[in-house]
Structure formats: C-alpha cells, structure tokens
Amino acid sequence: MMNKKLRNMMLFLPPAILVIFNVVFILSYLGGKKGYLRTAYQIVLNDFYGLQSAAFVVVLAILCGLGLRKKISGAAFLRRIFLIFLLFMIAVNLSFFPELNRDTQGQESKRFRRLRTPHLEEAVRSSAAKSAGAIEKYLQLGNDLNGKTLIVPWPSEDEEFGLFIGFVDPGAVVRKKYPYLIGADDLDFLKTFDARTSRFSIKNEMTESLVIVSEDPDAEEFTLFRNDRTIFFFSPEIVKRLPVNLHD
C-alpha cells in the first residue's frame, strides 16, 4: 500500500519541479547570473516541451492507474487532474518567456525559427531590403551620438508631439508614422528626465544606444533587424535643434 503522502508527492512533484526550475531560471537570468544556469538548462531540458509532455503523460497514467484501482474517488480524481493540468500550463507558459527562447548568442532558438511561416519571413525580408541602406547609413551616426548630451524640450501645446518613445521587437516592421526616427536601446534615457527643467539627457551610461534618423519623409516603413527595441520619434523641428549635425 502506497502511503497517501508519498502518492501525492509522486503526483505533484514533477510539475512542481518544472515550475520551480523555470522560476529559478528566470530569476537567475534577471539577476545577471545567466551563464551556468542557462547552459545547464539547455543541456538538461534541450527539448523542453517533449520532456514536459512526457512527464504529464506519466503523471496522468499514474492517476488513471490509481483511479482504475479505485484508490481515489471520481471527484478527487478530477480535482487532481485539473490541478496538475494547471501546474503544467504554468510550466509551459513560463517556458514561453521570450528570454528562454534565445540561445547563448541571443539568437532565436531553432524551435522558434521553425515556427515562423514563410510568408511572414518574406514580408520582413523584403521590407528590410528596402530600408537596409538607410538604416546602415545611420548606424554610424548613432555611434557618433552615443555619449553626447542630447537635450530635448518638453512637447508643448502648439507643437505636434515632439517626442515619442517606443519599443519594437527585432524583426518587426515599423510603419512610417513620423518621418524622423531616433532610437536608443536603453531605458536609462527615461531616468534622465528632470521634472524641474522638463528635459531629458542621454548620458554616457547608455551602452548600446542606437540612433536612427530617417531623412526620407516618403519612406513607408523601416525594419529593425538588430536587437534594437526602443525607438524615439522626434519631430523635424526637434531634429533641427539637435546638438549634433546628423547630416555630416
């Protein structure tokens, strides 16, 4: 006769371990200690879904076995099935966190690449080709700007929104809404906001800042194909006032 506690442990332990593992991994990633844990994670759980599905099937089989041998009532059986189902859904959801889907070089994992449909890839590639030249041209300008102080006035009533800040995922197509785009890959920019003077300043701490300014007002869309997630939109008026000559 199996001890009741032991039986419950057998049922709930595998999904609980997966959940804990995912949580620890995410926390360690956020904490910056990603190297070892990430490698361990990839070695141990290379095919994460396969392992989770297999564990789920095993637990279900144990439960069904117990149910058939009338060790547990129908209601208890249903309750356990549903609770275990919830635990597995949590584990699967955690494994979908974007950071988990990148390999050590920060590239998307094979699993994710495989999921991409061809027509979407094609759409991204064609729009990238159109604007690739423009973006490459301004990468250098972005590097030149990095580390310099950039003062931007607070948008006033009579002027169109002077400044927009947006996050864009790598590979996303940015529809042209404002002709001038300036981007930076760091939220620190926001922290430099001074409420008293209503001004921002980009400081040297910005390590990966990227500035993209489009001088082509007719361009319909831009595609960002690096890991650039933030775009700042400046109005033409503000671009004119930038302390750096972007057209050099």
Partner: protein, 479 residues
C-alpha cells in the same frame, strides 16, 4: 520617489476610508482588496469634476480638494464608529503592507514604455498644465490614464511607474479571493480551495504578456481590472448580495468608460444585461442605468464642445453625440422594459444583443471585405490576430488553453447567474472583432493593439472558466 509613495498611499487611504463606510455589508477581504482601485477611481473622478466644470487645475486647488474628500470620508467613518478596537489592527497591518510593497515597487522600476506610454505621460502633464481640455489628446485616448499621470505635476514626481505593479497585486489578490470565496455566505475549508484559486491566478500571471503588463505604462491592465470588478459586482448583486456591490460596480464601470475610447461601447454590454434581468429590483436598475447614463452623457457633452471644429480620428463631436444618444436609448429601453406588455420580452434582451453584434460583425466584414481587395486584407488581419494569440503576442499557451476550457465550460453545470459572464464574454468577443476592423497598424507581435486589448477580457473569462470548473470539481464542498 517619496512623493510618488505619498500619492499612492493617499489613494489607498482614500479608497479605504470610502470602503469602510460599507463595512457592515461587505466581506472584510473584499473591503481591503477594493480599497486601492476605488481610491484611484475616486481621485480621478474628483479631477474629472474639475475638468468638466472648467476649473483650472492649480496645484493647491487639487491638493486641497483631494484632502477635503479624504477628510469628508474620514468624518463619515468616525460618525459611523467604523474604527473599533478590533478593526484597528487589520487596518494598520494593511496600510503597513501597502507601504512596504509600494516601496519595493518604487525601488524596482522595470517600466515598459511604448509611444502610447509616452503619450499618456506627456498627455498627463498637458492636462495638468494647460488651461483648457486639449481635443487632440482626448480624441485618441480615454481621460482616466491622463488624469492619473497628471498627478506627477501635483505631487512633483516624474511619472507614475509604481501604480501598475500595485494594481497587478490587488488584481491578483482580488481574483484569488473572488475565486476562493465566491459564495462566501457558507464557510469553506481553506487549503484546497485556496490552492486551486492560487494556481488559477498563477496560471494567468505566468503568461508573459500579463506579467509584462504589470510594468507596462498603459491602460490595458487598468481596464481589465475595472471591467472585471464591474461585472463581478453586478454578479454579486444579482445573486442577492448587498446593494453596496451595485455602487462598486457603477464606479468600476464608469472607470472603464473613461479609461478607453471604446469604453462607452463596451460598457453597454453589462448595462443591457442589467436591463434584461428579472433578478434585480426596478429601483436598483434605475439607480444603475441613470447614474451611468448621467455621468457618461455629462462627460461626452463636455467633449462635444471640446471637439467643435476639430476632426479626431477616433473621437469627434459627432461620435460624442452618438454616445450620448445610445445611452439615452438605454434609458428609454429601461422605461419600456417596465411596461407590462413588454416586460416578458426582457428575457430576449441578451440573445438579441448577441445576434445584433454578430450581425454587425458580419456586416462590417462584408462591407470592408468588398473594399479590401476581395477580403485578402481581412484574412491577413485575422491571420495576424491568430499568430499573435498563438505565438508572437506573448501569451504562451494561455489563450489556447482558455479557448478549449471556455468551450467546455459553456456545456458544464451552471453556477447561479453565470449567464451574465457568458453573455459578457461572447458579446465582448463580437464587439472586439467588429471594432478591430476599423483600426490600422496591424502587426505581428505583442505591440499590436488588438493583441493588447485581449487583456481587457482575460480576467472575466478566467474567472468564469475557473469558477465553473471549481463548482464541478468541488461539488460536495461548495454551497
């Protein structure tokens, strides 16, 4: 940082002093869990009164009015002898926990900004500093979040980043408790019920996009919370709980109306369901419909004048009048539903609403499809929506699981008044699809507006599904 802390703490104390007025008729846990969202709503409504009456938002005037409101509630509490000796300790613990948690969230700023976030923060400043209401801002977004972010000007802080994690915390605790003790008249055992409710909430919270929304400076999560409270409050009242739930539902519904541009249209769903029900007294219905109609009409009448001579993309003078008109039609509907000859038609209200929305959706698909290269664009748009839900929207497995569970839940044993949730969810789905056809900027990724709007319904949907399953699997243990 300290100023933002003081503001959040003020909102909590304001909400608590308001909710304590109903302490005799409300479960203590609900009282505490609703204190923060209600405090946020009350403060926003106070500023809304300033804006509606044309009073300038001088810092001293806003601060005085805020503390006067708090003082008024506090005096009423004292008059009702609300702070008995045994009451004090839980209140002190609650306030201390709130203070400690808000300090944690103030220290860990993981804010997520998009250009929409920026528009909200900058718009808040504009509202606080300008003399009139800027039509350009109000034509794009609801006033609620602008007002919230205007607090930065009055309390002297840059932007309100700690609000969103605090709202997420209250939302999750409210979700857990409402699932744990939905039928609280009967005491139930703690362990398994709490484990179930906690896991259900954790399932939602383990979704990347929901977790991301806890730091995302936007209106989606706020809307989702208030919509959930509005429908939940209505459900509690329909089940015969005290009329304080009607007050809570009205305040939450009005908050949702002011949070989003499409808010007034979505709010019609619970209003129509309320008119159609036989479970509520006429007095309750009149209070609900009249107060919502008056508040919405007053604000949109103000907007009508603000928008004169201005052509907004989403809202303009004509659409403001349209909103007033449909709410007045609801009043007419309530009046007609009281007529003896027409009263028996009331039960057809909810299915009629579903059919009307389904017809509207089909009509839009057909007319838009004709103008969009034989429907190619529509198929592409729904393709994008599907790709976002299943893969790129940051939802993980959540929507796939919820979809199948919802289908199963529809055919499972009912819990009292569960049709309120079923009709709300289905109607929201149809309205969401209809409205989606009119927007631009469709894209694959979490940033797609339609993808973000899914947050609005997910807590109502999650509550409905998990309560249905709970009723089934704890059959012998619930009332």
């Amino acid at each position: 940082m300290i100023n933002q802390f003081l503001f959040l703490f003020f909102l909590e104390v304001l909400g608590l002093s308001f909710m304590i007025l109903f302490k005799k008729n409300l479960d203590r846990a609900y009282l505490y869990l609703l204190s923060f969202p209600m405090g946020v709503s009350l403060w926003v409504f106070l500023i809304l009164i300033f804006l509606c009456t044309g009073l300038h938002l001088y810092r001293w005037a806003v601060l005085t009015a805020s503390f006067l409101m708090l003082g008024a509630f506090f005096l009423m509490d004292l008059k009702k002898k609300a702070f008995s000796r045994e009451e004090r300790m839980p209140l002190v613990i609650l306030l201390l926990s709130f203070a400690a948690l808000s300090f944690v969230f103030l220290g860990l700023n993981y804010s997520f900004f998009t250009n929409d976030s920026w528009a909200l923060v900058a718009g808040g400043r504009t509202i606080a500093l300008s003399t009139g209401l800027p039509a350009r801002l109000l034509a794009e977004k609801g006033i609620f979040s602008y007002i919230l972010h205007s607090a930065g000007s009055f309390w002297h802080f840059d932007y309100l980043y700690a609000l969103y994690p605090m709202i997420t915390l209250f939302l999750m605790l409210f979700f857990i408790y409402s699932l744990y003790a939905p039928f609280e008249k009967k005491r139930i055992s703690l362990n398994r019920h709490l484990a179930y409710s906690g896991l259900a909430a954790l399932f939602l919270l383990s979704t990347f996009f929901i977790l991301m929304n806890s730091t995302y400076i936007h209106s989606n999560l706020l809307y989702g919370f208030y919509a959930f409270i509005a429908v939940f409050g209505l459900w509690k009242r329909l089940r015969g709980d005290h009329s304080v739930w009607l007050v809570v539902s009205i305040l939450a519904l009005l908050s949702s109306v002011f949070i989003r541009v499409e808010g007034p249209l979505v709010a019609l769903i619970p209003v129509i369901l309320l008119i159609s029900t036989r479970e509520l007294s006429l007095k309750d219905k009149r209070i609900y419909v009249l107060s919502v109609t008056l508040a919405v009409s007053a604000w949109f009448l103000k907007l009508f004048f603000v928008f004169s001579g201005f052509t907004g993309k989403k809202l303009n003078a004509d659409r403001s009048l349209f909103v007033i008109l449909i709410y007045l039609l609801c009043l007419l509907g309530l009046w007609l539903s009281e007529k003896r000859g027409l009263a028996r038609l009331r039960s057809y209200g909810p299915p009629a609403m579903l059919y009307a929305l389904a017809f509207l959706w089909s009509y839009f698909i057909w007319t838009k499809g004709m103008s969009m290269k034989g429907g190619d664009l529509i198929i592409r748009r729904y393709g994008i929506l599907l790709v976002n839900i299943l893969r790129d929207g940051g939802w993980g497995i959540t929507w796939m699981a919820l979809f199948f569970l919802f289908i199963a839940a529809l055919f499972m044993a009912r819990f009292p008044q569960d049709s309120l949730f079923a009709y709300t969810i289905l109607s929201f789905g149809l309205l969401f699809n209809s409205l989606n056809l009119f927007r631009g900027g469709w894209r694959v990724g979490w940033g797609d507006s339609g993808n973000r709007m899914l947050v609005h319904i997910i807590f109502i949907l999650g509550f409905y599904i998990f309560l249905k399953f709970k009723v089934m699997i704890f059959k012998n243990e619930t009332s």
